[in-house]
Amino acid sequence: MKQTSDTFLENASAALADSGKSQRRDLLALFSPLMRDAAMGSFGQFEELRDHVRQVRQHSLDHLDHYLAQFEQQAAENGNRVHFASDGDAMNSIVLDICQEHRAQRIAKGKSMVTEETGLNDYLQRAGLSVMETDLGEYIIQQAGETPSHIVGPALHKSAAEVRELFLSRHDLGERDLGEIADLVGEARLVLREHFLKAEVGIIGSNALVAENGYSMLVTNEGNGDLCANLPKVLIICTTLDRILPRLEDATAMLRLLVRSATGQPQTCYTSFYSGPRRELDTDGPLETHIVLLDNRRSEILASDYREMLQCIRCGACLNHCPIYAGVGGHAYGWVYPGPMGSILTPLLTSLEQSTDLPNACTSCGRCGEVCPAGIPLPDLLRDLRHEESERKLSPTRWRWGLKMHAWLARQPRLYHALTAVGIFGMHLLGRRRGRFASLPMAAGWTSQRDFPAPQGKTFMQQYSALQRQQQAAADAGKRGGRSTRRPDPRRPGTRRQDATRKAPAGTGKRAHPGGPRGKKPRRRTGDE
């Protein structure tokens, strides 16, 4: 897939100008979090489960060499052929070789972000094969010649009316209305059923690879992935190293988080575990199965400070909760993975140079980190990438100097408080009459879109100290009067996770981003700043 992350700002402006699509994104940003919250609410023990799954994922990554070897051995015992691919091209050529070996012409494909990453469809089509996406969302964007805008719902950027137009022009099925979404789903079912029955090779992804016995977990609602896995004579599972989990129980524990985080369902319709080709007495199933394991820099990420990113279970919750994603949509990010997870994965899997804007497309609101079921400290990793951009002089000189000055000042608390007090008081005087500023020097980025409210006269620290003094006085008075007037201490956040839950990556010391300079970076939690 052609990457356009380097024009993120232009992509974003173009997306914001399309009001119809913006409205649909707003609705999704409103409803998806509600569904997720309701599902987690009725589950009850989100934190406990998240902790458990994170421990298991970290353990699996710490010992990935061991578990990968175990999986490979078990999968081979089950009758699979296991292939290793260092990069996307290698995966594509392995898949093409298998198809050509069987003289296959028709491929039925289940949803797979990994093959989006490697551009498999284009690769196979260039070799003359017919590749049909069978997940409804993937099918829609394939027919429209577009790319996914969301990792779970790839076609959520399209309206039903657009899908209707698309189907009317692409399916030669005569006069029909297609006025309801159910009609559109019905038509896709009809058209794709043919394809399922004729396909010679099925290609699917995997949500988890189970090391202890070589099974591969497939999670869908439509059942399309299972048709791809069961009907064609040859099955190819395209996936990545980091999907490995030790036991069957680990896969289903993770699934509890995955479904609730992704769609707010308590359970997906179809959760399947496949071990290999059909057994001797079986009457159906593929005769030959392949598992292609892609690395594509994941082993380098494992050795870097960004190792935690490999815990991602691709649920899409961070997208659904991100105000930037809601604003600009998935396509603006310019590659396969959008939103917070994409703003980290894209620089790691491609290059920071090509995607400098992505880690900056963040308001540091922290919602992604709070909902991430894999317990990935997304805001921290985004900040670390920004830090790296600054170190490697990838960010604009003006920013870097501004930040350096700010950092210096912040380390002189007296001077800092004095200067901010003068500044705030000055702005208070200047803006007193109108209560806001329509323009401010060096802040056009803010004031071009909205007014800046005039400060009320005192800085936060001044107000905070005054409040403390007041409370102290009240407490002293209370003590004398024998009554306590305790209030909750505003410095103690209630539920924020503590630094102790973060584990330093295993291995030999900290290493920077793959392809970046080696060196130590300060790692602090966003909440400490």
Binding site: S32, G44, Q45, E48, L49, H52, V53, Q55, V56, H59, H63, L64, D65, H66, N78, F84, S86, L136, I140, G153, P154, A155, L156, V163, I181, A182, V185, R189, N221, E222, G223, N224, D226, N230, L241, L248, E249, A253, R256, P266, Q267, T268, C269, Y270, T271, S272, F273, Y274, S275, G276, R278, D282, D284, G285, S299, E300, A303, R307, G507, T508
Partner: protein
């Protein structure tokens, strides 16, 4: 080429991993029972299972024994298709049912295009998820689960378990006895999609209807309670 990719990948992994002894790795693995499961909607296993099946948009029936099961199946198929035809895998449990009593004779084998109804005999029913676990093979070709319009699943109440962890424990026992089957399908609802405008529509690529018949010694009020709990 593939072999060199393999050794390069393993070299990089060993560099990034702890290269611990297998025993130590095993010991460091968190126990499976520290994973909380979803709370069950009822203390009664059958009621909890039925509630979640209903919540998953399945339809349900309870029957006391095999004669009643055959009759319920016959009624279901007749109600929808005015016929008594259905397909079922070569499952000894299904072959032994008193089909003649209800005037039905299934065709035993894998579903063919144009056959709308398939019947499966569940390996397990899982209360936590409201899912029926099916094992692929001669006794239940996987295509029967996915190509039918109406998928009927018979669950013996002795095969109900509360959680996924319990399900795996039972499955492991079977696996140790008779090896690893090609696959397991955990089915929890008719096929659905939310891919257009996020609106949930049933009958995507798989069955449009998923009907569960729970058979055995079940509390008389289980179904009624389940309907109340599921709001259906």
């Amino acid at each position: 080429m593939n072999n060199s990719a393999r050794s390069e990948i393993f070299a990089r992994l060993r560099h990034a991993c702890q290269s611990a002894e297998a025993e130590n790795i095993q010991r460091a693995l968190p126990p499976t029972d520290s994973a909380p499961g979803a709370p069950l909607p009822s203390d009664d296993l059958a009621t909890a299972f039925l509630t979640n099946v209903l919540k998953n948009q399945g339809t349900v029936e309870c029957v006391a024994n095999r004669s009643a099961a055959v009759k319920a199946l016959a009624d279901y198929v007749y109600r929808h298709f005015r016929s008594h035809r259905l397909v079922a895998g070569n499952d000894a449990n299904l072959a032994a049912m008193p089909w003649r009593e209800a005037g039905v004779l299934p065709r035993f084998g894998a579903i063919e295009p144009g056959e709308p109804v398939a019947l499966s005999y569940a390996l397990l029913g899982i209360a936590e998820t409201g899912a029926t676990a099916l094992q692929t093979g001669k006794a239940n070709p996987a295509v029967n689960n996915f190509l039918s319009e109406h998928h009927l699943v018979l669950v013996d109440s002795s095969r109900l378990v509360a959680t996924m962890e319990q399900a795996w424990a039972r499955i492991r026992q079977e696996m140790n006895k008779s090896g690893r089957p090609r696959g397991y399908n955990f089915i929890a609802g008719p096929s659905s999609t939310g891919d257009i405008e996020g609106q949930l529509v049933y009958g995507a690529h798989g069955p449009r209807n998923w009907h569960v018949i729970l058979m055995g010694d079940i509390a008389a009020t289980a179904l009624e309670d389940a309907r109340a709990l599921a709001g259906k």
